[in-house]
């Protein structure tokens, strides 16, 4: 029999309906919260992405100037023409016009466009002069546009290549000062947000997300004129002596500023292509040489400081050789009895060795170390070498004697210049610097009186009878020291030589210190023959360029007139300058 169902309870119904409605509305709330709160960022971003664009604002790299404000490295905008291949191919009749305007081969251009026909971007021609690019754009060929890029130019070319270094295609410093000061020069590119329409046109600027910071300029200590002079003379000397490589460094004594730094072989930073990496090294800073006899100035400094020796203390160097534990030290000529000054004048290895053996190893090491050997100079140049100065505990008597005349230690040409600059500056060592105004503090390394004594001794080297009369400069007193070192390779010394000369001018109050290093000259190889003439020629010009007063004039033209009065005796042309000028480099 049929059982009658109970009528539904209206209350239960009500609850069920309410529960369903509640569920539905809470689902809506959840969804709304999800959209508005939880996933808001995502949707906002998606929305913005459909019309907001962040456009990078490119900035140009700072210019590098020499000490007189001449530009050495300049970034200048260039235009690169690019095309949208499908769009351009749709108007193929315009391609010959484009080929003609860009100077490209028509078939090659067509082939390139076919090749990139599935892409939307292809360079047609890069790094064009903006005027030329504008001329191409003015043709109004569909699908052709231009894009701004920066290119760095080095007007001084290979003369300045090693010091400045270079940048890569993205304008980042790769070598040299471009690398060392990349953060300073590069600046920061900015970002600007704009609204774009469906076709990509900029409709409105929204905001500046990040302000662009242009690269800052850098003024370095190099003097372009002196640099060129050094480059020219070094290159000429290398050709004359068929030498493999060479470097020259010129320091300004009062400030430690590097006025010139050149190396051979060099490269053209404007068109690098496939340059041998060896050509790109700034050898004056990254390569070490054994200083040879140029070390003797520091050995004698130590001897004078020890109190055991005076500039005129006698020392017997006969018979020109000196046997020490099976090692023979020899001089080029037997000079017999010399005094300490004579050891410098004639560059006697025997004398230097004998003097060294009267001192303690620790004292010698201390003096060399105070002059900055075995440690980087602090110039901040990337890849600077520290050189090698063994600790005194490693020295036997033979090492002590050979280090005294510059074998068994090595240093960069810059370190050698720094050491001699300390002698020139009255015994105060100052780190060299590349940045104008970046003068480093100095500190005393040796008694001023000893430094003065050494300078007097070094003057005898350049006098007739010394080892480097060819370093002399007319009207100026010159102090310097030659050095000739054999190249160490594989634990022994081979037949290659390094010719060195380091000197200071004017000797009475040194303003400039110069180091010339020539590797592997053929034929003559003495520092006094190969390197000293380079020093003389470059310094002669540098002294004139810097207006340094001469300190060694035999015949003053004393009847100099006051301003405005004419010079008697037809000497008008020559007498117009109030600074002495000499010109040994006229002979070319």
């Amino acid at each position: 029999m049929k059982q009658r169902r109970q009528p539904p309870n209206p209350r239960t119904r009500l609850y069920v309906v309410l529960a369903m409605l509640g569920l539905a509305s809470s689902a809506l709330v959840v969804r709304a919260v999800d959209l508005q709160v939880v996933s808001k960022d995502f949707y906002q971003e998606q929305g913005d992405a459909r019309y907001l664009r962040d456009i990078p604002l490119k900035v140009s790299r700072g210019t590098i100037f020499d000490r007189n404000g001449e530009p050495l490295a300049v970034s200048t905008p260039v235009e690169s023409i690019w095309a949208n291949p499908p769009e351009l191919l749709a108007h193929a009749d315009r391609i010959p016009e484009l080929a003609k305007a860009t100077g490209l081969d028509e078939d090659a251009l067509k082939q390139k466009l076919e090749q990139y026909s599935d892409k939307e971007f292809a360079y047609i021609k890069r790094h064009l002069n903006p005027d030329d690019a504008q001329a191409i754009l003015n043709l109004d060929i569909p699908g052709v546009a231009s894009q701004r890029e920066f290119r760095r130019y080095y007007p001084s070319g290979e003369v300045m290549a090693h010091v400045l270094g270079y940048t890569n295609i993205d304008d980042h410093g790769q070598e040299g000062l471009e690398f060392a000061f990349d953060g300073w020069l590069a600046g920061k590119s900015g970002v600007k947000r704009v609204i774009r329409d469906r076709l990509g046109h900029e409709v409105e600027n929204v905001e500046l997300v990040r302000e662009a910071k242009a690269g800052r300029d850098l003024t370095i200590t190099i003097d372009r004129r002196i640099q060129y002079l050094a480059y020219r003379e070094l290159k000429a000397a290398l050709q004359e002596h068929h030498a493999a490589s060479g470097s020259m460094v010129i320091l300004d004594v009062p400030t430690g500023e590097i006025l010139a730094m050149v190396n051979q072989p060099s490269f053209n930073p404007n068109a690098r292509g496939n340059v041998d990496p060896a050509y790109k090294r700034n050898r004056a800073v990254t390569d070490v040489v054994e200083p040879g006899s140029t070390m003797k100035a520091f050995t004698i400094s130590a001897a004078l400081e020890s109190g055991k020796w005076k500039p005129h203390s006698p020392i017997d160097t006969s018979p020109g050789t000196f046997a020490l534990y099976g090692h023979t030290i020899s001089d080029v000529h037997n000079k017999g009895m010399l005094d300490v000054t004579g050891v410098i004048t004639h560059s006697s290895n025997v004398g230097a060795a004998k003097i060294a053996l009267t001192m303690t190893r620790e004292h010698m090491y201390d003096v060399y170390h105070r002059f900055g050997f075995g440690e980087v100079t602090g110039s901040g140049f990337p890849g600077e070498a520290s050189g090698y100065l063994p600790i005194p505990q490693k020295w036997g008597p033979v090492e002590q004697a050979t280090i005294a005349y510059g074998y068994g230690v090595n240093m960069t040409p810059l370190q050698l210049a720094q050491g001699y600059a300390a002698v020139a500056a009255g015994g105060r060592l100052r780190s060299p610097t590349f940045v104008k105004g970046g003068e480093q503090p100095d500190h005393a390394v040796i008694d001023p009186e000893i430094a003065a004594n050494i300078r007097t001794m070094l003057e005898t080297v350049v006098a007739p009878g010394g080892t480097a009369p060819r370093a002399a400069i007319r009207n100026y007193r010159v102090a310097g020291k030659t050095g000739t070192a054999r190249v160490a390779s594989g634990g022994s010394y081979n037949k290659q030589y390094v010719s060195l000369f380091v000197g200071m001018v004017p000797a009475s109050a040194p303003r400039l210190v110069g180091v010339v290093v020539v590797h592997d000259p053929q034929g003559a190889y003495y520092g006094g023959t190969v390197s000293a003439p380079v020093f003389s020629k470059v310094m002669d010009g540098a002294l004139r360029l810097l207006d340094v007063s001469p300190d060694n004039v035999q015949n003053w033209y004393t009847s100099a007139p006051d301003e405005g009065r004419s010079v008697p005796g037809g000497r008008k042309a020559a007498a117009t300058s109030d600074v002495a000028t000499t010109a040994d480099d006229a002979a070319e």
């Binding site: 300049v74 020559a574 000028t581 006229a586």
Partner: protein, 89 residues
């Protein structure tokens, strides 16, 4: 009641006014921004032009070139030692 109505309409007016103010300020800022970008572009272009001119000058004044012209074209020489006189003031 009157007081409440009055307060309400004042607030309403203030809201509308500030809304218009916001729109106006925003428009002003956009105009100013466009001017700024324009001036920035002008500055950059002038700087580039200056850089190009500097570069050109440096190229013309290249030491090697000057020496070539002085010695070769103009036949100039550095004075020899004999021709040099040092003057003491």
């Amino acid at each position: 009641m009157i007081v409440r109505m009055l307060a309400f309409s004042i607030l309403l007016l203030a809201t509308v006014a500030s809304a218009i103010g916001v729109v106006y300020a925003r428009q002003q800022s956009r105009v100013a921004f466009i001017t700024l970008s324009q001036l920035g572009n002008d500055r950059d272009n002038l700087n580039f032009e200056f850089g190009r001119l500097q570069l050109e000058q440096a190229t013309w004044a290249e030491n090697n070139r000057i020496e070539q012209i002085a010695r070769g074209k103009l036949g100039m020489v550095s004075p020899s030692v004999v021709e040099t006189i040092v003057i003491k003031r």
